[in-house]
Symmetry: C2
Subunit: 649 residues, 2 copies
């Protein structure tokens, strides 16, 4: 598949954008007109730079408001087109995007439109230019790709073809199957964009909220499957208008973009495999053009070659979680109070292992001076760490080097967008981990004490990498994003995105935390941030675990009395049970599937712990209780900072 991206997706100057696209591995780019107009590079400079970078200049865009106009305006538009065609010749470009008229259209007449598009095609032919005509979702008279293509067919000129854009098609819920009926030589260009399903006007949705494939909710693999079946083999190019991407580091965004196309390519191939039987007569274009072959797997082959990736199944569970700090004392106390056992130090590294049943926590003391505890790494159980790592690397995940001695397990590590290190570990049927023997003999067997597993891990994400993180875990680890939620906190709404495996053995929660802005010269609540992250452990009997922890002196997060009154008003709980919850600072939730009990510890550095019990088939995270946690933690931070303030005085 030939990969492309429109320069409008990225921040920076045209030069910065082109360099970033080349480094990220794109085959070609679309030149967004404004990026050229605002650039000090001449068209010849751009042409040479693209050649030097090995980037194709695949599409010049957009040319707006051409058709459905009076003859006077048409003359003006043809003059304008002529100027752009001459410019394209200097750029060495041969395809221009012409979108359906939004602003100046006054005459709704398909015959007139065909006549006007025909004159444009003639002019384009004189310049050796191909016009790719695209139906905008909010086009005044033409807003549907089938309508646009009927016009292309009516004109029947070699220099006029169709441009298919997934956003304009899927945002309007147009059926994508008829794409297969379009002759491949009449599809001049294909643009792909994903988007979250939002209920708003389609123009604002398109201009601000598009995301890269895999970061939204459109059925893009199906769209691409129809495109492949039509016999198209040209560029598949990203055109993403996104407020955040336009503000983010250009190099990072280009890599995120490339990852999305690599993943889309695989998903499209999968869709084709899964839907081979439903091949219709209209979709026989590939066969008709003589390219039809059955490959080893029985998949039909289409002119568009779809590269695949090393396959991975979703992870079987968390192997470990790692917290990094050079000041581990508080953390050790907390884990001990929770019921974790200290299993020893690593034989060569400054690293401790703590475990409770199959829940393993590593304290990595190889941290810079005065590093407060922070979640640094997560281990996931996979079938084959080597294959999973190869897949992640093909998806452009940065490799994390980790020193190993002879006889030690070689961890395959990659960096997540928020810099958390993700280690791909050899899973085992009984949930044990072979590497633990590096900490002492016999540790590979789970301890006989309290049984526990890591239930979920909650990571705070920087705002500019939130969507990127969703795609990363989807594509590299085969986690499935759930509908996102928003949780109120004293410092603003926290956007929360759950990523899970189908069996819920892995639950990862990505949180986008608001940052309270500090006012210049103020000492109010503006100074505080809430970038706390946590690891949650599941046990069978939370009340017993909490009592034991209480006995060991654990400092629970203190839940307000008002909470228990409200809980009683909502659920009419049995008085003794309510009293137990209140006594132990336990939180409670219930839904149609089951019940959820949980408690939180105090925070050390940026880390705290949660202990949970799931009853029945409860599948949530106690979302109604999250505002309580946020408020209490906020108060605690305020208390600490006031306290620190007094000490300093």
């Amino acid at each position: 598949m030939r990969t492309g991206i429109a320069t409008v997706c990225l921040s920076g100057t045209l030069k910065e954008k082109m360099q970033a696209c080349a480094i990220a591995g794109f085959d070609g780019i679309e030149i967004f007109e404004q990026d050229l107009v605002t650039s000090p590079l001449s068209p010849e400079d751009v042409r040479k730079m693209a050649a030097d970078l090995g980037l194709g200049l695949d599409l010049y865009q957009p040319f707006r408001d051409f058709d459905s106009v009076s003859e006077e305006i048409l003359q003006e538009n043809l003059r304008r087109a002529d100027a752009k065609f001459r410019l394209m010749s200097r750029l060495g470009m041969d395809t221009i995007l012409v979108c359906t008229n939004v602003g100046t259209a006054t005459i709704d007449d398909d015959d007139l439109r065909a006549e006007q598009l025909g004159r444009l095609a003639e002019l384009a032919g004189d310049h050796g230019v191909k016009v790719a005509y695209e139906a905008l979702a909010w086009g005044k008279y033409v807003n549907d790709y089938e309508h646009a293509h009927r016009l292309v067919e009516a004109v029947d000129h070699p220099n006029l073809g169709t441009c298919l854009d997934s956003f304009h098609i899927l945002s309007r819920d147009w059926d994508t199957a008829p794409i297969e009926a379009i002759k491949p030589e009449k599809i001049f260009f294909v643009q792909v964009a994903d988007a979250p399903k939002l209920s708003m006007d389609v123009l604002s949705w398109s201009r601000h909220y598009r995301v890269f494939p895999g970061e939204g909710q459109f059925e893009l693999a199906k769209f691409m499957g129809h495109v492949a079946r039509a016999g198209y083999s040209g560029p598949v190019s990203l055109e993403i208008f996104n407020d955040v991407f336009r503000q983010s580091d250009v190099a990072r965004t280009a890599v995120d973009a490339m990852r999305s196309l690599i993943w889309l390519e695989e998903q499209s191939a999968k869709w084709l495999d899964a839907n081979a039987a439903s091949l219709t007569a209209g979709g026989a274009a590939g066969a008709a053009s003589g390219d039809s072959l059955a490959n080893a797997a029985g998949r039909r082959r289409y002119p568009m070659e779809l590269a695949t990736l090393p396959k991975v199944a979703e992870p079987a569970g968390f192997n470990f979680a790692e917290v990094k700090t050079d000041e581990p004392a508080q953390l050790e106390t907390l884990l001990g109070q929770l019921g974790f056992e200290f299993d020893g130090r690593h034989r060569t590294k400054d690293v401790q292992l703590w475990s409770m049943g199959q829940a393993r926590v590593i304290i990595n003391e190889q941290a810079p001076s005065h590093s407060e505890p922070a979640i640094a790494a997560l281990g996931f159980d996979v079938d084959s760490p080597v294959i999973a790592s190869a897949r992640a690397q093909q998806l452009k995940a940065p490799v994390v080097p980790r020193k190993v001695q002879a006889d030690e397990e070689v961890f395959q590590g990659i960096a997540a967008p928020d810099s958390t290190e993700i280690f791909l570990c050899q899973g085992s049927p009984d949930g044990t981990a072979a590497w633990t023997h590096e900490f002492g003999e016999g540790l590979e067997h789970p301890s006989a004490g309290t049984q526990a597993v890591i239930d979920h891990v909650n990571l705070a994400q920087p705002w500019q990498h939130f969507d990127e993180a969703v795609l990363f875990y989807t594509s590299a680890l085969a986690l499935e994003p759930q509908p996102f939620a928003e949780v109120p906190s004293p410092s603003g709404l926290v956007r929360s995105q759950v990523m899970v495996t189908s069996d819920r053995a892995v639950r990862l929660v990505l949180n986008l935390a608001p940052v309270l802005q500090q006012e210049p010269g103020q000492q109010g609540n503006g100074a505080r941030k809430s970038y706390q992250e946590h690891i949650a452990f599941a046990v069978d009997d939370l009340v017993a675990a909490a009592r034991a922890a209480q006995g060991r002196g654990l400092e629970f997060l203190q839940i307000p009395a008002n909470y228990y009154e409200d809980l009683d008003a909502r659920f009419a709980l049995e008085p003794a049970f309510l009293a137990t919850l209140k006594e132990l600072n336990l939180l409670y939730d219930r839904d149609a599937n089951g019940e959820f009990l949980h408690f939180y510890t105090a925070t050390v550095g940026s880390v705290f712990f949660e202990m949970v019990e799931r009853r029945g088939n409860y599948d949530g995270y106690g979302a109604p209780n999250a505002p309580v946690r946020h408020a209490v933690q906020y108060d605690a931070v305020q208390y600490d900072s006031l306290h620190a303030h007094h000490v300093h005085r």
Copy 2:
């Protein structure tokens, strides 16, 4: 008017919110249930704190999903209500908000609803509680205030009344006139919220994008006028769900909120004056209840007392703009090259005056060491500085102290939300300024050289004070917000809000600039910000002014050649004219009303200058050229930072 605010509008803990509301001057608050549930304060603590702060506890909210349910769920809901009524008694509160059912309603039957609401009113009566029933815009069966009120009337119980919320009414475009027909004793509560006109699902719109009155586009004065005419005299309370306000400093937001109610009060009184003639029979409630009086101005008086503010007309023009720096050399050069004359130094302060015609720029050297030039103050011509200043202070604008000697003009200064100092100056019919004689004799007469005025000033706003700034300039300076625009720049979209006087003598542009996020450890484009601000001067003959400036060695912002090609493609300009534009780095725009020529200088510190010529009735700012400016300035900053980088090495 009794002022109120819901705690959900603000960031922080319940205690922080209550303190901020009291300091901002609110009469009462609505307790948002979650704020109480998450608080360590007991209901008795809250009651005492409110009494100590002098805050009324006017409404407990929300109680959701009560009506239109099966008898089994109703029993459950009555039990839940009973718990809340008991809680309210501990809080010393007597009014609860019950909103129409969204989640659990299954039976659409007004008789049943009335019966169920009647049972709720009975129970409420037993506890001395008043139930204010509110139609949510997205209520399942009841989403219209008139429908909700028909149910209230059907129940006819002293403990059941209506709550009117401007958002739920105006977002659905319900007619507000029928409010006048509601008996005042049956309106238990009034909530006000403004919002920008957005085309999106009403729930998301409501939960994220509400703003304080005067910051959006709803006709709130009219809504309030009908409420006053109905004879209502209870609390008017803000309920604003806004993602930004929830993240912003609580004390600042509370003041912004209070300002919005003070302004709304004045606007409502104005609406009543302007619509006195249209008083209908239904609106005679005020008269019927015996409170009807004619005041001196002939305005009818209603039970709701609406305080007014000292009146100001919109400013007649810019009096001056002030740039602050202790390193003025580059600025002096730039102003000289533009054609400004140095008029001398202030007789007692370290301040220079430069002028060109009626455009006056002050260079204030009373700045901390190594302060790069930044726009620090703006002077506006008003009829009466003392009255305008009194008005601004009643609107809670902070006063800016400025030292004066005997015989010097006393400037009335207030601080805008972005800390720009706004000075209210005595205007003069000929555009001169009396204070200039403090810089030298005879300067009060305009110079005989090039005629110029300040055309507009463009200020960068911090994101968390953007809406606040709109209200500030609307309420304190009587500027009118225009529809906002978004301009692409290499570092993201720039949101641009124009504020003007009706005669366009004052044009102020508020820009919300994106901040490029720096990646940890990266040296890419992430480090740059674009917080440049500028002052634009209008002249009669821009080409002549540009040539003269060129002759004086001015460094123009260099416009790419590609721009002129595109300009020609768009406008088919006369070749000699196009050549002149290109030679002088002038930008050009044209619309149905006229033409616009302009150029920019290089940036010094965070300030640059623009010179413009308006032909015909062109009313814009060259918006199509803004991306060019942003890109060239971005490149210049990049060049500077690379250069600085090399120097440091």
